[in-house]
Symmetry: C2
Subunit: 426 residues, 2 copies
């Protein structure tokens, strides 16, 4: 087996479980949070700094790497672990989600997807076989089935603002001349997803060291989720994922789908909640029995000077922080908030508080105002560490079967505690 | 005394000396190379990574910090050491050089310089008193006198191409309606420099913990260098600098000026060769008796995918490196070339060479082609380490009074060994 999963503890009050996944490149604790390394790098973060956030597994995007530098080049240079220099576990997605959400799609049919490359505009044909071929070249420890990811809710029934937040297929739906039938689209996606999964498994050439996970679809329709889960778990695989969540629908919808679907997946295999999410999504996903999460928010928000804290987002460009000597989050132990925890002697603020110093909000604001890339770097590091600290506390909540300390320490992760997801200043 | 300088060894075959400078924030070995931290950060490099290059002292630019975020804000947040989080020695320049070279100058007179801010276009008046006031607010261990830096050679006598390479006052010379008289400009600059130095010393409020260095000018005219050195060293200061070199004139001119001027500075005090420079400039500067160098090349070239090696520059965007599994420089021990030297487990290239892996030229090229900021970060780290390794070997050459190993290991630093300064691929 290329992968083993051990459940170490179960929460009796919820469906959550504490576990450990072992792969050919080492193990990781679950529930686990994977930072996203789109183009073979977590943007701006030298890998020793990623390691220092407590990240144990990282995610690479097949879509981007397939287009540039190409799977065969990465394979020639030893695979993605050796190419990017990450010694630990790694997961790649199938490329399908980005093909749907980022590209001008020319055709989707039962064979696969044809789209225009975001890099040079050339026509690219992506099929289950091609996705698996590229993922075999990249060599990640966990690889994902190429699925058909429909909009989670009917986009034509949404407001324009809500449509803009939806990240799958809004372009192709808007352009299509045929009237959009959401129920038919969900059924089509379910059928394709299972047929494509069979083709992925048949095409997979490295089952001895790469673990293929199948993906359950079905939108926010629970019956269709049940049907998809039955079909997908009917194919024996080392793990399963819930796809098509957190793609524009609200928190309540996410929770409803995850709480319904997670128990339909095999108890003894890891469950990956794709693209989940904000803090309260991760907490809810963990309570529902999810084991692995990923999210591009730490980096995306870090680039925009949005820093996560347990009580909400701090917008570091705000002028009120210009002379603020305090760290982003006094409870955080990241390189920015507590450099001395990383062996870095940081001179204290003279005339200010005693003891070692930190990257202050004032300094970080300066970096963003001066367009210095160290700003996005430090805030991304902080944001990744923020989610890893949340995972540490979620794992402790499961181990102790006590969710109150988590709720006390992470008000942002508790529904109703803040007005909007993760944003105390909105 | 805010600064002590101990000469530990002398090279009998040259004027070079090996030494150690101690400041309120610790010491550094000389000859020393200072990476440039323009806006309160070495671009893109978290400080533990700067430390890992072997850098012991860094330089901050008063011009940029004065304009944004402002000296008083930095002072409120504990000074530049605490603001940027650098525990070791730090030097700030006066801001004059950037005011001349980067700004639209409205007026230069005996009082100071008036220029337009590169940030918001507002009019800024910079005088010796104001420069020292800001440097006192920033609080670096070594601060520089506000000097008048003339073009090193007559710009009107240069080709257009050569003028473009000159970094001081080319704009104002080109715009002036008065005919340019180089000899008169050099004399004017010498006179202003000594009067402004007197004003700097009088304005300096933190001599107890900040050491003011005077700057010798005179262009490439050796008589004027002698006169300036006599005037400047007539004012008792903890150290002296040679300014106005490496601003567009050739290697031979740099060497001529430095070899002439360095012996005119007090033997027992550190000598700073400002803006020097390429590898052969640093080697020549060390042999002439220079103790401290700075240069923005590692970062500027790193951003452009130009990586330094002992045999010349590697241009990492070149397509020939696309599948190259080797490091930038197999002799280098930086984080990019030898990650395992920094405790980073880097998976080896499977099917390739034995042993631990590295950031390959192929991966680095990918980062630059994909516009990933980790490319500039890793190459800047490499380039800074390249110069620090050169300094280690220069210090060994002085200690052993044997310059042959240095010449053997650093062909790029030996005049005549390469066609053009530091570029094996030009």
């Amino acid at each position: 087996m290329a992968l083993s999963f051990t459940i170490l503890a179960r929460s009796r009050s919820t469906n959550a479980r504490l576990g450990r996944v072992e792969t050919a490149h080492g193990g990781f604790d679950t529930p686990a949070f994977m930072p996203v390394g789109t183009q073979g790098t977590i943007k701006g973060l030298a890998l020793p700094l990623v390691k220092a956030t407590g990240s144990q597994i990282i995610l690479g995007n097949t879509y981007h790497l397939m287009l540039r530098p190409g799977g065969s080049l990465v394979e020639k240079l030893g695979g993605l672990h050796a190419f990017a220099g990450w010694p630990g576990p790694m997961l790649t997605d199938s490329g399908g989600f980005q093909a749907y959400s980022m590209s001008d799609i020319n055709a989707v049919n039962d064979d696969g997807v044809t789209f225009r490359s975001i890099i040079d505009g050339s026509s690219v044909h992506l099929t289950p076989e091609r996705s698996i071929e590229v993922q075999n070249q990249l060599g990640a420890d966990i690889i994902m089935a190429f699925d058909d990811c429909p909009p989670s809710v009917d986009p034509t029934a949404q407001s324009r603002a809500a449509q803009r937040l939806m990240v799958t297929q809004q372009k192709s739906v808007a352009r299509s001349k045929k009237p959009y039938d959401h129920a038919r689209r969900l059924d089509e996606a379910n059928e394709r997803t299972i047929r494509w999964l069979e083709r992925c498994k048949a095409a997979h050439r490295r089952a001895h060291d790469q673990s293929l996970f199948g993906i359950v679809q079905g939108g926010t329709d629970l019956d269709r989720r049940t049907r998809s889960a039955g079909q997908v778990t009917g194919i024996d695989l080392p793990g399963y994922a819930i796809g098509g969540v957190a793609v524009g629908e609200g928190f309540e919808e996410i929770v409803k789908v995850v709480e319904h679907t997670a128990p339909l997946l095999p108890e003894a295999k890891p469950r990956y909640l794709m693209g989940v999410g904000y803090e309260r999504d991760s907490r809810a996903g963990g309570r529902a029995g999810g084991d692995v999460f990923d999210c591009g928010l730490p980096r995306g928000n870090g680039r925009n000077a949005f820093a996560f804290t347990p009580t909400g987002v701090v917008r570091l460009r705000n002028a009120k922080y210009a002379e603020d000597p305090s760290p982003i989050d006094p409870t955080c132990d990241c390189l920015a908030c507590r450099p001395e925890a990383h062996g870095w002697v940081f001179p204290g603020v003279s005339g200010g508080r005693e003891g070692p110093g930190c990257y202050s909000k004032g300094y970080l604001r300066h970096l963003f105002m001066a367009k210095e890339m160290l700003g996005p770097i430090l805030v991304s590091l902080h944001n990744v560490r923020h989610f890893q600290r949340l995972m540490v506390d979620i794992r402790a909540a499961i181990r102790d079967d006590d969710w109150f300390p988590l709720a006390r320490r992470w008000p942002v992760a508790v529904p109703g505690e803040t007005a909007s997801a993760g944003d105390a200043e909105a």
